[in-house]
Subunit: 323 residues, 2 copies
């Protein structure tokens, strides 16, 4: 596939989605202050960000609302307390995890909601449920994406079948998700080309959600964009599970569309992200994450190791080799 | 140009050069302990690293030997105190800066030296002197590279003329150097293709030395490799001026040649790099470096800002825009 766009011009199909609360919430159990969320909303609007993801629509039967911050559940009234009727160009998304969401009940009709988009997160083996959730959200009036997670560990044949299923569904977009931060840019290039075949055939757009285990989240995001992906996930100061995600401040420096503005992002980082880090929230590239990424493993062992402030990297590596 | 190599096989032309002392020395004025240097040498040998750069051959007339560690000068006896006669597969390099090196006097004949390679670092406008230094080192028996710095700020016409001059010289290799950490992978791809044209015409190899201002040092290094570069600079834990370089631990995870071994690298990092960081040596990706990289500026302002532990990123950004 020919390169899409270049470094001098802009592409009208590019959308930046701020996933700071949603992926960052995995770091601090969604315990953000109201002031933080309000300031993030204002910063995103000013920065020209296209979508802001407020969090998950997690099942209140499965998860205790007293053990998590409210953005694990994203009640309509909690979002409205921040955005009112959201009189801005910023669209609002939430994520619904297959198997962890009472979507029929908890996701209301769009006409009653300030939410614009539902992103259905699924593993390859959960596709039938994912399709049901997609159709449910679509029938309620939402823009819908299907985010197929952990593809670095999936069989290519299964991924192709999943792409066909999403292709034939009502979903608007399909996301490449490198949950383990294991993929190199040349793999992202190949995967994006594969996803673009289905996108072109079925009239969907492609998105990318990268992790920074090997300091490749930004590189992989722009590699996917260059090969046709148009929805780009980013988080403030990379905040996200483990090694974190593609940093908004890196991505906006790369995108040339004059509607994007890095200044409010920098201001938000210094005023809110630095204090959050100082308060103990722990995320970002570190050697244990690099090692789980290199070995294409879930970052959970690295998260535990980093939280315990252990630095015996050689021992950690041999432990991983035994897994 | 077609991709060179793939993710499953190895390339016999790939060489990894450890530049920890040389570029890292810019962080701490080359004040490494003897134990650190000995351990680094042993770790590099065990890890299968191809070259280890001990530092600069800086002029003792221009620079006060009492104000810097010995690796700014790389006396023959100091290197021999670490490596003896270097009975290993690891080759030893030093860097000679145009205008800062008494090369005729300080670089002795190779038959008297344990050094294998001289890397001549030059800006585009200094090429005539660089060529003299290349011929001097070559006539003394060394492998020689020409490292053309700060090319993100150079005119393409000037770079092409410099490449022709190096091409016609006795140099063995030519380095792509992204001193400001300003280049994106697709620019690195284009630049590598350009350098490879000259390399093929004149029978040279191409190397890459990247900086991590935009978290792209590793991505740019493997992008250059994929497009034909074979000499890859890396440093332990990314140590290097400002945002640092491509991390050895990232690069060895990518390279599939069984001669490389990440284990001694991890051991060295935990035993020596972490204490060095804790002692106050400051390097690595941070937002001020990201901003000078985005704006294609020398990192000096960001280095000062970071050393002063300032975090008013928005103000720093507007200051940079005024430069």
């Amino acid at each position: 596939m020919a390169q899409k766009g270049d470094l001098m011009t802009t592409r009208s199909d590019i959308r930046v989605l701020d996933a700071t609360i949603r992926d960052g919430g995995l770091v601090n159990n969604f315990m953000f202050s109201d002031e933080f969320i309000s300031a993030l909303y204002r910063a995103n609007v000013k920065a020209g960000i296209d979508y802001m993801e407020f969090g998950y629509k997690a099942s209140k039967e499965l998860f205790d609302v007293n053990k998590f911050g409210k953005w694990k559940f994203c009640n309509e009234e909690d979002i409205r307390a921040v955005v009112g009727d959201n009189n801005s160009d910023l669209k609002i998304s939430i994520m619904a995890d297959v198997g962890r969401c009472d979507y029929r009940h908890d996701i209301t009709d769009r006409s009653e909601s300030v939410i614009d988009m539902v992103r259905v997160a699924t593993y390859v083996h959960q596709m039938p449920t994912a399709i049901e959730m997609i159709e449910d959200a679509k029938s309620k009036g939402y823009e819908v994406t299907c985010n197929i997670m952990a593809i670095s560990n999936a069989q290519e044949g299964d991924v192709k079948q999943a792409l066909k299923m999403v292709g034939e569904s009502s979903a608007d977009g399909i996301y490449i998700v490198d949950s383990y931060g294991a993929l190199y840019p040349e793999q992202i290039r190949r995967i994006t080309e594969l996803y673009m075949e289905y996108a072109d055939e079925y009239g969907k757009y492609i998105g990318i959600h990268a992790h920074n285990n090997q300091q490749l989240a930004f590189a992989n995001t722009i590699e996917a964009a260059t090969n046709g992906a148009s929805f780009l996930d980013a988080t403030m100061m990379s905040m996200g599970r483990g090694a974190g995600n593609c940093a908004t401040e890196l991505l906006l420096g790369f995108l040339k569309n004059p509607k994007f503005n890095i200044f409010p992002v920098l201001k938000f980082i210094q005023d809110y992200m630095l204090p959050l880090k100082e308060s103990g929230a722990l995320w970002g590239y570190d050697i244990p994450y690099l090692l789980t990424g290199q070995l294409n493993q879930h970052p959970s062992a690295a998260i535990d190791y980093t939280n315990e402030k252990k630095t015996d990297y050689a021992e950690f590596y041999t432990d991983l080799l035994d897994k």
